[in-house]
């Protein structure tokens, strides 16, 4: 049977505001429990929530950046469920009037543009953190301990339409969304810190069917790798169940990272189970045209716009996508270096390959103050003009990262400028020929691979200052090859 998977993704983004969503307790990043709490975020009776203006601004930025229609007259709802990490016994969220609806996000797959349709973008609050004390196993815990520092931290939930058809597209979507949040400066976007968390709804149905199969929700994927593996596993599990004539149960399944399987957690709640109703503590939220326009004007250059600018410099879409997901200073460095070199591929390779590689090796996160973008364009231009070799370029770069100097000084000091003058090179070539008569004989007898050895000897005798291409050319001429 030909089957097709359909995936929808729900992502929660923790905003990087100074204070929480509905109270002015500071958002803290610490292991020390319960140090930033007030009656509102621990759900004491009589406490009243007051929304954070910056959080509303941030979600509006994200909704506009994903091309959503903004709900000008919206409201908050109570989503009721009983779990100790939610002290009010409801989460303040949004139900039928989210801040944004019907948007899309551009992604890049195999050097081609694609789009993921977004159903909604809504505002809510995070829960506290619970840990289960006792034997270490959740089902035999003796008690649950709670830290409410995270309770009430602003969360934006972004829900895609069920339009994703592979784990590859799902991963590209999350990477793009993460970059967008970083570029908008609304979140740290660190997966390992839980700034970005995602669940996937997966169903499998016959290829020709217009209807979707039974939906299974997968939770507990905390890296892009686990997202990819969990989706692939679940598609296989559902497909083989369908092929064996078994029916799929609508449920929530847990991704087990160590076993690389999904296991059943509980039957899935429908939205009716949450008994949503409008929060009587929070009046209608009106986003005025003036407010929305102000937010629109503050939109920075978005990842897809950066990609387009990079493509204009001559890079292909795939390389442009890599650069658009780099740190801001790398993107800025690319444009500055490209302005001088006008060589997009060399600029890309030197920045993403050599420069970042050396920085990783030296374990430094940012370039020293003295490092001018012109250094990199000088190196690229010196190589292009055959004045230094590619290898010398790498040596010069390494020096420039560690010492306050210039490419010219390093090249002179280390004698890296190549001799391009033919008569001077001929002199050295003839000397090497004279000193290696046995090798020359063997080359004449057909051992071609020894030419490389001779070129090596010539470069060595010159102290590394000869252009290998020219040396080989002259050697061939002298030996009548």
């Amino acid at each position: 049977m030909n089957l097709k998977p359909t995936i929808g993704i729900e992502t929660h983004i923790e905003l990087n505001t100074n204070t929480k969503m509905f109270c002015r307790c500071k958002v803290v990043d610490t292991e020390e429990p319960n140090i930033s709490l007030c009656p509102t975020c621990i759900g004491l009776p009589g406490a009243l929530p007051v929304p954070n203006e910056k959080a509303i601004r941030y979600i509006t930025l994200l909704a506009l950046a994903t091309g959503c229609a903004i709900t000008k007259k919206g409201m908050f709802h109570r989503k009721n469920y009983f779990y100790p990490d939610l002290p009010k016994n409801y989460q303040i969220s949004q139900f039928d009037l989210p801040v944004g609806e019907n948007g899309k996000l551009e992604i890049v797959i195999d050097n081609e543009k694609d789009y993921v349709e977004i159903e909604r973008v809504h505002m809510e609050e995070d829960t506290g953190k619970s840990s289960h004390e006792g034997t270490g196993r959740i089902d035999s815990a003796t008690s649950t301990s709670l830290d409410f520092n995270r309770s009430g931290v602003p969360l934006v939930e972004i829900v895609t339409k069920p339009v994703i058809q592979s784990s590859k597209v799902a991963v590209a979507y999350i990477e793009e969304l993460r970059q967008l949040a970083i570029d908008l400066d609304i979140s740290e976007g660190k997966l390992e810190k839980g700034n970005l968390r995602f669940d996937a709804n997966i169903s499998v149905a016959p290829s020709k069917s217009d209807e979707l199969g039974t939906k299974v929700e997968i939770k507990n994927m905390n890296s892009l790798r686990s997202l990819e593996r969990a989706i692939d596993y679940e598609i296989k599990r559902q497909s083989s169940a369908i092929e064996n004539g078994e029916s799929i149960i609508q449920e929530t399944r847990h991704w087990d990272e160590s076993k690389e399987t999904t296991t059943s957690m509980r039957s899935k709640e429908g939205s009716a189970d949450y008994r949503y109703f409008s929060d009587p503590d929070l009046p209608n939220m009106v986003l005025s045209d003036k407010f929305v326009n102000q937010v629109k004007e503050s939109l920075p250059s978005l990842p897809h716009e950066n990609r387009n600018k990079l493509v204009e410099t001559g890079l292909d879409l795939s390389d442009s996508n890599v650069l658009s997901k780099s740190e801001k200073w790398i993107l800025e460095l690319y444009f500055k270096v490209y302005d001088n070199t006008k060589d997009s591929k060399a600029t890309f390779n030197w920045i993403t390959g050599e420069l970042q590689g050396q920085m990783r090796k030296l374990e430094i996160k940012s370039l020293p103050e003295w490092f001018s973008p012109n250094f990199l364009s000088d190196i690229i231009q010196l190589i292009d003009a055959n004045k230094i070799s590619f290898t010398s370029g790498k040596v010069i770069l390494e020096e420039l990262i560690q010492k306050d100097t210039t490419p010219d000084d390093v090249a002179k000091k280390l004698n890296l400028y190549q001799e391009n003058d033919e008569s001077a090179i001929s002199k050295i070539v003839n000397e090497v020929i004279k000193n290696n008569q046995d090798i020359v004989e063997r080359i004449k007898n057909g051992e071609d691979k020894l030419v490389g050895f001779m070129v090596g000897q010539i470069i060595k005798s010159s102290g590394g200052s000869i252009n290998p291409g020219i040396a080989k050319e002259i050697l061939s001429k002298e030996l009548n090859l």
Partner: protein, 96 residues
């Protein structure tokens, strides 16, 4: 209206202890409330309406600046907890 609830169970779920007198008084109060709310089920409602824009308050939401304000100290926050340990609230084991 006969009582359709178990006041002892409700008290247990709400974590409040009630004397027999209180149970009796609250039972009759709750019966009156339920009877009153019962009137709603006599209304004919169109359950197919989407995006109903209703809210008990006419006012618009006021937003607050993202500036930290003093809140509870760690000890104050934990002072009402039935049980606490290592700076955390402790509750009976819970399962998802």
């Amino acid at each position: 209206m006969s009582e359709k609830f178990d006041i002892s169970n409700i008290a247990k779920l709400a974590s409040v202890s009630l004397s027999d007198d209180e149970k009796q008084k609250l039972s009759s109060d709750l019966s009156v409330i339920l009877e009153h709310v019962q009137a709603l089920s006599n209304l004919e409602l169109d359950t197919n309406i989407k995006n109903v824009y209703i809210h008990p308050l006419e006012k618009e939401l006021v937003l607050d600046e993202d500036i930290e304000k003093p809140s509870l100290t760690h000890d104050e926050a934990l002072s009402n907890a039935p049980k606490a340990s290592d700076g955390k609230f402790i509750v009976p084991p819970s399962l998802e």
